[in-house]
Structures are given as structure tokens and as C-alpha cells.
Amino acid sequence: MTQIVPLVRPAKLRAQPPASIAAYAELVSTTNFSFLRSGSSPEELVTAAMHMGLQAFGVTDRNSFAGVVRGYVIARDLKERFPDFRYLVGVRLCFADGTPDIIAYPSNRLAYGRLCKLLTVANQRGEKGKPVLHFADLFGSGGPGSTSEQGPTENYAQGQLFILIPDESDWGRTEQVLEQLATLARGRVWVAGSVRFDGHDRARLNRITELGKRHNAPMLASNDVLYHEPNRRMVQDVVTCIREHLTLETAGWQLAANAERHLKPAQEMARLFAEHKSAIAQTQAFIARIDFSLDQLKYNYPEETIGDGETAQQTLERLTREGAAKRYPNGMSDKIKRSIWTELCLIAYKGYAAYFLTVHDIVMYARYQRKIMCRGRGSAANSTVCFCLEITAVNPEDANLVFGRFISTERDEPPDIDVDFEHERREEVMQYVYQKYGGKRTGLTANVISYRSKSAIHETAKVFGVSDDTINAFNQLHWGWGSSLDLAGVTAIGLNPDDPVLAQMFEVIKVLRGFPRHLSQHVGGFVITRDSLESSVPIGKSAMDNRNIIEWNKDDIDVPAILKVDVLALGMLSCLRRGFELMKVHYQQDIELTQLLAEEKGRGLFPKDRVYAMTHRADTIGVFQIESRAQMSMLPRLKPVEFYDLVIEVAIVRPGPIRGGMVHPYLKRRDGTEPRAPKPGDKLDQVLERTKGIPLFREQAMQMAIVGAGFSAGEADQLRRAMAARRRTGKIEIFEKRFIDGMTKKRRTHTPSNSRSAALPRSRDLPNTASPRATRRPLRCWFMPHAGSNAIIPTSSRRLCSIASPWVFMHLARSSATPSNTGWRCALSM
């Protein structure tokens, strides 16, 4: 087996003129979205490829497109600095029948759709998360059953460019596959040659060249990249062990012999392929034939028209008019009219009418046909149109919110309407959606489950052979996202953080945190398309029958601007419905949700004072959002008297404000014990007016960033997104610095005295703490009816809660000594 080759005279090589750096593109790569098979994320690989000056980089994960959007986003963000860089999308087809791996790149949009369908076929055949692909599938002649729902078989190989990865343990099979592939996809096949530094490199490259020549498939240089820099070999080894359930000591041959499968610059690749220069050149020929990028993924939303030749926009306008007449029986104010008009114009401009109609339709179906209680929430509460369409229940006029938060022209991002349904009956709504749009056009978004600190510690420690006791001790350590290792904590549990093994382990853990572990299904985010969904994204199998999941995370679908309808489940709604039934049976009162909402107008069913007095006593067991122990201990101190106080209450009892030291200043200022001098001229002061100068909400953070730190509106929005996705990236730290720098600079010009410089350290905590006000706001829908019913018929209401959420039951069990039993009896007789 030893390859002894005659030595080339070094003098000859040296005599050659230094070749100019050949352009090179890395086309075979594995990211950490091929779960536990790679040591780098798509973002890291793409960034590294850009910095190395590669011509192009392709993300090719194993039978999956899950990671391509992440790479695309980073490539788009850095586009200005590297205008010539091309980001390519491909997939590594791994077969269940022993066929060597084949890399497929779609050459155009149609080919991409076919590839998605091919992966869908594989997903449907295998178990969840374990696609099963056969070589025959590639040409549409797969086994029976695979294509039952797909219609006639299709040649999925059409329009694809293939790179065959030779299987070095079975050259015969490799040649066989190459022959078939080269015949069926003539002129679109390459063979990957890579320098692995295993002693056989020259022999291998020569062999592949010969093989390629026989079948008219040129060799293409590649490094079969697993990680972006050699250091990541550690992570690669660890994830290999996690995957194979081994420890580093026992893994043996499973681990790679060296750290060579990192991304290499063009110069290095040219040196390694010095005897096969054409292999480098072939990468250029290859990328020249690719005419696809994720930009072309145009999303088309299903038509939602009632008929009568109306367009979706016209239908929406008609429905809004009708709804407005119902919502504002006394006529609309000019402000309302204006905002409806603005919103409709914006919707028309953005073309979101059909989306609103879809949500409207689902809500109408649930509410009137199935009698399921449902309410919209989230940023949709800012929209008057949503209010008129009965999607949300809060009048934006009362709530003082801005539509711009929901949809805006600058932000090219689809609106997000979340709708809560009774948790026990949500499935009915989901099945309705599937029936209406068909299984091929509907899918749930995926939820990428990533390694959290705890799981990363656990699995890594196991790989390092740490004993179970020590692993349990590690679990006591507290590592937040992005925070550094708590060395004092390590010492406290009796371990030496300087121990080389431990130090290595912690380094690996730092990297491993945030690595995707598997795909799960999102709680209720529906994606609906007009065309077949599977030509946009591969559809995976769900653990439940009759459900499809697409491969992209909910953040990722923003990029191809796919609209998502959130069909969420809320136990409190079920609880309320039962409560209404009880009221009807025992008190002969027929109540509706909307009746209960008119609290502030004095039209409410329940006396406002009694409800708030109840909160002052912290008698809020099972009251939505303020039922926790922490909330209950805060209520008597805060003494809410109006709804906005509750909004603050919910926002302030969170780890962020507590750690940021915002609680006591607020309480003091509220009580008036700490004077707060209003500065009428200060714009920043106006932003924080309602919260007594304490920043609590994300909106306030954005406005502070604009007013105080000189952010542009777009940057402020980026800040908001960074706050929302703090777990994913370290972006927030960049913003934090800018925010504080900007603040200090502005402060110097605006207020000469540094009397309020104490506010600065607080704002540091702000980004990772502030909660969006809009989400807190519609909580009113639940709070009033719920707390109200609690005040009037306390025990029966508690009984209801205990049905809906076991957690409340625990509370009740603890306080079961409460005297009144009438309510219990009444509830039990239900």
C-alpha cells in the first residue's frame, strides 16, 4: 500500500516563475447545521471565506438547506466590503444505499426548487431528522410511495451541477456512480479532489484526474471544509465524540488525524494543487455556471379574495370599513379615519392585503364557526386595521401605540400577527389551515434548538471523561449568554480552572454554546404559499402526523420575506371560556370578552377599584401574568391603580431590571420619596416620562438610542433586533458600546452637569433586559376579565385556573386553607 513515487528534482520546481494567485472558490463545506458534524457556523465560514479573499463559498450541508439562510444574511451584510464575493447555496446529498456523497448546486431557481423537492422526498421517507435518500431518487425513479403526493416523477437532477466526493474505501462503486451520473447529467459533473495530508495525496489526485478523464468529469479542487480555522479541530473532535457517544480517549480512529480540513486561502490551495492547476481553474468554471442566489427566492402569498372580481386589497378595504362601523358605532374620529387610511395605503404599497385576509379568515373561522376564543397580540395590537378586522381587541387609539412598529416602509420585513387560541382547541384551527391551503402549501416553521450553557457543559464534560458528580457540580455554574466563564465559580466547586484539561474544556464549551443541535417545530408559526411550498424550502417530517415543518427557523424566513401566521395556544383562554360558561349557568349572566375590556371607560362589568384593591393585597393567584411569587411580592409595593401600572409591573419584575438596579429607583420615584426633577426641554426625558425616568421597554430603548445616542431609525431597529436575538450573536455588545459612547457624547452637549450620569450604568443592562411594551400591552385582554372574575367569584375562578394550568394548582394546594368553599362547590357541580 505504500506509494513510492520518484522524487521530483526540487531545482526544477524552484526554477518555475511564481504563479499569480489563482482565483479559488471553496465549494464543499459542512456547517454546524449538519448537526454535530462541523466545528463552525455558516456565519463564521462565510466571513472567513470573505476575509481570505476567496471568489465564492458554498454552504453544503448534509441533506439540508437549514443553514443556508444564515450564511446568506452574513454575506449580504458584508456585501459592501467584498462586492465580488459570491455566496452559493448547495447541498451535500448523503445516500442511504452506500453511494458516495454528491454535492449538488442548483444552477437556477427551478433547479433549486427541484432540489428542495428531492430533499422533501428523502425527509418524508425517513424518520424525523433522519432523511433517507437513494441514488435512484435523484433521477426521479425512486421507489414507490416516495412520489405519491408529488405527482408524476420528476428528474430532480435537471439543472443541477454535481460534485462527486470519491469514496476512497470503494473506488469501484465510486466509478460506477460517476459513470451513471456522467451519463445522465452530461457536462454537469465534477469530481472533488482534496489534499488530506494522509500520505497518499499525490496518488489520490492522480487517480481522481484519471477517473475524471475517463468519464469526462474534471477534477475540482476542494478541501471538504469542516471548520473555518485550524483551531476548531478541538470543537470538531468534541462534536464527533458527542455524535458517536464516545469520549476523547476512546474515540480513536473516529477522530481526524490532523487539523487540515479548515478553510484555506487561494494561494495555499494553488500550492497544494500545483500539479493539477486545472482543478483550481475548474472552481471558476463551476461558479460561472451557477445563476442562482437566494435573492431569487420570491415569495408569493396565496390569493385571498372573496370573489366578485375584487382584489385582495379591495376586499380588505371593504372588510375594514364594515368592521370599523361595528367597532365605532358612534362614528370615527378624524384621527382614526386618518390612521386607517394610512395603514391601508401602506398595506397596499407593501402588498400585504392577502396576509391580513388570511389572519382575518382564520380568526373568523375560529371565533364564529368553532366558537373558539382567540385574540391577536404582539405588534399587531398597534394596528387599527387589525382592530377593525376583530383580530385584536385593543383600540390602538387608547393604547397610544404606533403603527410604524408593526409595518414600516423602511423596514423591509413582513408584519407579524400573533393570534392566541384556546390551548385545548388550537389543533382544530391548525387542521382548518391545512385543509384550506392544502398540505403542500402549508408548513410550520422550524425552531432551531441550540446548545445552551447547561447542555453544552453536560455533553462536553462527558466527552472529556469528566465524572457525573463533577458534571452536576458544573451545573451550578451560571453562565449567561455571551458572558465569560465564571472562574471564581469553578474554584468554588473545588476545581482548578487552570488545569489544562478543564481549560480546554471550557474553551470548547464557549464555542459550542449556540451551536444548533436539532430542528424542532415552532409552536405555531404557519407558512403558507401560493405555489408549492416544497419548491422554496425542503419540508421535513414532524413527530406528529399530518404536520409539515420547513427547515428554516422563524428568524430565517424573514430573509426570503416569507409571511408567517402565528397560531398560538394560550391556556388562559380556555380558562376564561369555562368561566363564562360558569357565569351563565350559575349567575345567569351572559358575558362577552369585549364587555370586560371597557374598564377604563367605567363601563366595565367589574368594579375597577375592587380589582385593583385585590392586586394591592397580592391576591392574584392564577391571574395571568401577575401570578408568580415575584410578581405577588412586588404588587403591594407598586400598588397599581391603572392599567399602565400593571404594564410596568410586569416589565419591571424581570431579571434585567432587577439586576440593573431599576426597581428601587422606580418605586421611590413613584412614592415620591426620591424627587425627580423633570427637565421639560430634554427630549430624553420625554421618552422616559411615563416610567419616571427609568427605561423599561424596548421601544424606550430604541427612542433613547435615537434621541440620546444619535442612532438613525434603521440602526435603532437593528438594535431592537439585536435585543430580540441576543442569544444568537454578539451584536448586542457592539451596539452597547455605541450606545454608551453616543450617550456620553450627547450628554456633554445637552446637560453640562453630570447629575444624571448615574443613569449610564443602568442603560448598560438595558439591552438584554427591556421587554417590548407592545407585548405587555394587550395583556389587558386577559387581565381585566380574569382579575375581575377573581374579585367577584374568587374561588371558582381559581378552580378554573387549576384546570387550565397545573402550576396554579400547586399554588392552590398550598393555600387550600382559604375559608370560602362556595365557589368550590359551584365549580364542582359544573
Binding site: M1, L7, H51, R202, R233, A257, N258, G730
Partner: protein, 488 residues
């Protein structure tokens, strides 16, 4: 004075009392040896250590009693023998361990199979307060009549007052809860034994008896189509001591010659340790690790007496020199050549070749330690052209490589140096520098610190060498080269 009395009380009663502390480890060891000897009565002998100071001797006599002429006779024989030796013993035979213990400790008569009513009352009598078992303080208060009805009482209050151990004992005695004994010696299903009317003492006699027993055992094993890997010779001395000799064979065997030979070698290693005392009155040869062995192999073994199997050689060497001295190499799954093999006892049973990778190019001989050489080669990873090894120059005309083997970074004897991260291109002037992507630093792993590039090189005379360069090429200092092994 009585057993279980307080020392203070006893001192008060007898002023000049001499007090000696119990040497527990010694007593326990002596008692264990004593227990072993009882395996002449039954193969399953255990010491249940939880009751008395040195424990209770427990014998499982299932299927044994008839050899002594019934259970009652057996109990009598055993107890008499011990009493004659001067021990104070009490014993009982009962269906469960718990019942036997209860009767032997607390019953007045040694009724071999007590009626269940007696059992009931006996088990519940307050046990003597000894150091190993907590006293049940409340039980005497009840009076013997009440405590006799323990079993029929409500369990909950009983447990509340006396703790769970009372109920546990009760249940064990009645057989509701299974109680297990752990035999002192490995229970051998197949054995051959010989008793001597006149005790023997010479080693040669012992080995001759072993040979006889081995033949007996071999016949039995042959009829069953079995062979064994571990053989144990128990020598029962008249003074109630047992000596055990164990030998292992590398493969299944039942060849009496081979077994005898193993014991002979083993006995040579005994030297002074062999002590027949007042003589040996029984010898038992037992076999364990039994497995299927085809009958044909017996013939093969006996006829190949002259050209012996390598395994038999290993066996004999191991039995003569000790199992940890005779070693062989075994492949290990490791990329580092020095770690790719390790020594294991030759006698070790299963040989696994998981570590074998025939596809790797590895030399026949690895030098004990890599030797420094001088190499003329192209940088950074060109093939070597000439070599100076031990002051002799070799012209290398053929070579292949490199095979790059990284360090096993988790074997971190040494802290490795810091690697400079990949430097991003300097941004064009005027642009604001984009913040670098969040990259955690992994300073603890330096790929070129321990990486070796291996080459196979052949000189003009056809000698092939396995040489490597330590680390990567650097401009500032020449790389160091080593010769690690030779082919052919």
C-alpha cells in the same frame, strides 16, 4: 456478667476487670478463613457480616444434606466437629436465611425446621444488644407475649416505633423478602474432589491428586462438550484452612496434562508460601469460565504434545512466571504511532483488533525513540532528498508523503502556545471598520506545536525509512527532523 453488657456496668460489677479491645480486622480475616474451610460441606459458603462481630457463617445446603445422611445429621456432624475443636457454636437449618439466623441465635432448641409459630415468636425477640446492631429500645416494654404477636400486628405502628429493620427481619425470616448470600469462593458448578482418610502433605502428592482430579474432570467436561479457562485447586487442611491455587489458560481447554502442567508451574512459584500444616484431608479441582469446546480438540491437543501451541506456551510461561510478566502487544486506536500499540498480559482473554488499520503505512520496526536526523528537503512540505543519520549520509531517491499527524490535543501534558488568529484584510481607507465576527479564542490548541509530517523515503540501497518533521516549516528556524522507524 453477660454478653452484650455495658463496659461501665461490667466494671462496676467486677472492679479489677481486664479489658482488651477487639481486633476486628484480624478476627474477621480469621473467621473468613475458617468459613472457607466449610466449603468441604457445601460449595456455597458465605459470611453474613451484619449481625455478630465477625459475622454469621451461612451455608447453602440445597442438594447437599443427603451426603451427610439428612439435614438433622448434617447439622449435628458440622456442629460436633466444631465443638470438638473447642468452639462454642450454635446452628440451625431453616428454609430461609433469616429464619435460620433467628433460630440459631435466639431459640433454645436447635429444632431444624421450626414450626412457623415458633419462628414468629423467635424472630421478634429483642436481639442482644451488640455493637453492630442498634438496640430496639421499645420492644422489651411490650412484654414477651405482645412481642410474640409482632407478625400479626399492624405494620405501620410497628415500623413507627422500632424502625424498618424489625419488619425487614420479619419479612426475611418469613421469606417475603429474598435475602442473598455472596459466596466466599466462586461457586464452581463442575469440580472433582478427593478425600483422604490419612492426610497428605507433600506437594508432589498434591499434584498427583490434581492430575487424577483433572482426568476425572476432563471426562466429565468431555461428555458435556465443554472446556474451561480458569482452574482452581482447593486444598482443605485438617486445621480448617483452605489454600487456593488458580491457573488460567489462554483458550478453552480440558486437557488433564496441560492443566496439571499449569498447576506444576504454579506450585513452583509458591516457594515458601506452601504450608500443608498438619496435612490435607481433601482436594478439590474446580473449573470456571466454562465454554463450548468440540470434542475433537482433545485429540488434537494430546497428539501435539511435542509441537506445542503458542497459547499453551503462553499459559505455561504465565503460570510459571506470573500472569503480569508475560505480555504481548495489542493495537490501540490512536493516530500517534507511539500510542498505537500497548502491552497487555498474554493471558488476557479476548484479543480485539479494533485498533488495527491495515490501510495505514506503518513501518515494521519503530525505533524506541525517534532519532534526530539531518534532512535536505524542499520547504514547506516537499519530499526529503538526502538524510544524515548517525553520521552516515543517505541519498534518498524515492519518497512519498507527507502524512500529517496532529497532536492528540486532549493529552495535554503541556500548555500549548497561542495561535495568532486569522488576520482580516485591512479595510480600504475611508471605510469604517466592520466589527469582527464574534469568535471565541481557542488559545489552548496549537496545531503546529506537535504536528508531525511523516514521509516514507527509500535510499539507493533500497532501505526504506520512516522519517518525520516536527512542526511546520518556519523561516526563522530550521525544522527538526527525526527518524522514527524502518521498513524491511
Amino acid at each position: 456478667m453477660s454478653v452484650g453488657q455495658n463496659l461501665a456496668d461490667a466494671r462496676a460489677m467486677v472492679p479489677g476487670l481486664t479489658v482488651l479491645e477487639l481486633d476486628r480486622p484480624l478476627l474477621e480475616a480469621a473467621f473468613a478463613d475458617f468459613a472457607d474451610w466449610h466449603s468441604n460441606a457445601s460449595p456455597l459458603v458465605a459470611v453474613m457480616s451484619d449481625v455478630t462481630v465477625f459475622g454469621d457463617l451461612v451455608l447453602d445446603i440445597t442438594g447437599v444434606a443427603h451426603l451427610f445422611g439428612g439435614e438433622r445429621a448434617m447439622l449435628r456432624t458440622l456442629l460436633t466437629r466444631l465443638r470438638e475443636l473447642g468452639y462454642a457454636v450454635s446452628g440451625a437449618i431453616a428454609p430461609t436465611i433469616g429464619a435460620a439466623r433467628a433460630v440459631s441465635h435466639f431459640a433454645r432448641s436447635r429444632w431444624w425446621k421450626p414450626p412457623i409459630s415458633i419462628l414468629r415468636s423467635m424472630a421478634c425477640r429483642p436481639p442482644p444488644c451488640d455493637s453492630t446492631r442498634p438496640r430496639l429500645p421499645g420492644l422489651p416494654r411490650w412484654g414477651s407475649k405482645a412481642s410474640a404477636n409482632c407478625r400479626t400486628r399492624e405494620r405501620k405502628p410497628l415500623q413507627a416505633e422500632f424502625g424498618a429493620s424489625l419488619l425487614l427481619r420479619l419479612d426475611q425470616a418469613c421469606g417475603h423478602i429474598e435475602e442473598r448470600m455472596t459466596p466466599r469462593l466462586p461457586p464452581a458448578e463442575r469440580y472433582a474432589e478427593r478425600r483422604f482418610a490419612d492426610p497428605i502433605g507433600l506437594m508432589d502428592d498434591v499434584l498427583m491428586t490434581a492430575h487424577d482430579s483433572a482426568i476425572q474432570l476432563a471426562i466429565r467436561l468431555e461428555t458435556e462438550g465443554l472446556g474451561g479457562q480458569a482452574f482452581h485447586l482447593f486444598l482443605y487442611r485438617v486445621d480448617h484452612q483452605v489454600m487456593t491455587l488458580s491457573v488460567n489458560s489462554a483458550r478453552l481447554s480440558r486437557d488433564p496434562e496441560h492443566i496439571t502442567k499449569l498447576f506444576t508451574h504454579r506450585s513452583e512459584r509458591l516457594e515458601g508460601a506452601y504450608d500443608a500444616g498438619f496435612g490435607i484431608d481433601m482436594i478439590r479441582l474446580a473449573v470456571s469460565s466454562v465454554g463450548e469446546l468440540d470434542a475433537a480438540q482433545l485429540g488434537v491437543f494430546s497428539q501435539r504434545d511435542v509441537t506445542e501451541d503458542l497459547d499453551q506456551l503462553h499459559d505455561r510461561m504465565s503460570s510459571r512466571l506470573g500472569p503480569m510478566v508475560v505480555l504481548r502487544t495489542q493495537f490501540q486506536a490512536s493516530h500517534t504511532p507511539e500510542r498505537a500499540a500497548r502491552l497487555v498480559p498474554a493471558i488476557a482473554h479476548a484479543t480485539n483488533n479494533d485498533g488495527l488499520r491495515p490501510d495505514l503505512v506503518r513501518p515494521l520496526r519503530l525505533l524506541p525513540a525517534p532519532e534526530t536526523i539531518l534532512i535536505n528537503a524542499e520547504v514547506p512540505d516537499g519530499l526529503p532528498a538526502s538524510m544524515i543519520w548517525r553520521r552516515i549520509s543517505y541519498r534518498l531517491i524515492k519518497a512519498s508523503g507527507p502524512e500529517r499527524l496532529g497532536a492528540e490535543w486532549w493529552h495535554s501534558g503541556q500548555r500549548l502556545q497561542l495561535v495568532p488568529p486569522v488576520k482580516p484584510k485591512p479595510p480600504a481607507s475611508g471605510e469604517t471598520p466592520e466589527p469582527a465576527p464574534y469568535t471565541p479564542n481557542l488559545p489552548l490548541f496549537d496545531p503546529d506545536a506537535m504536528t508531525r509530517d511523516y514521509y516514507v523515503a527509500e535510499d539507493e540501497a533500497g532501505r526504506r525509512f520512516w522519517i518525520y518533521r516536527q512542526g511546520f516549516h518556519r523561516d526563522d528556524e530550521p525544522a527538526s527532523w527525526y527518524l522514527h522507524g524502518v521498513f524491511s
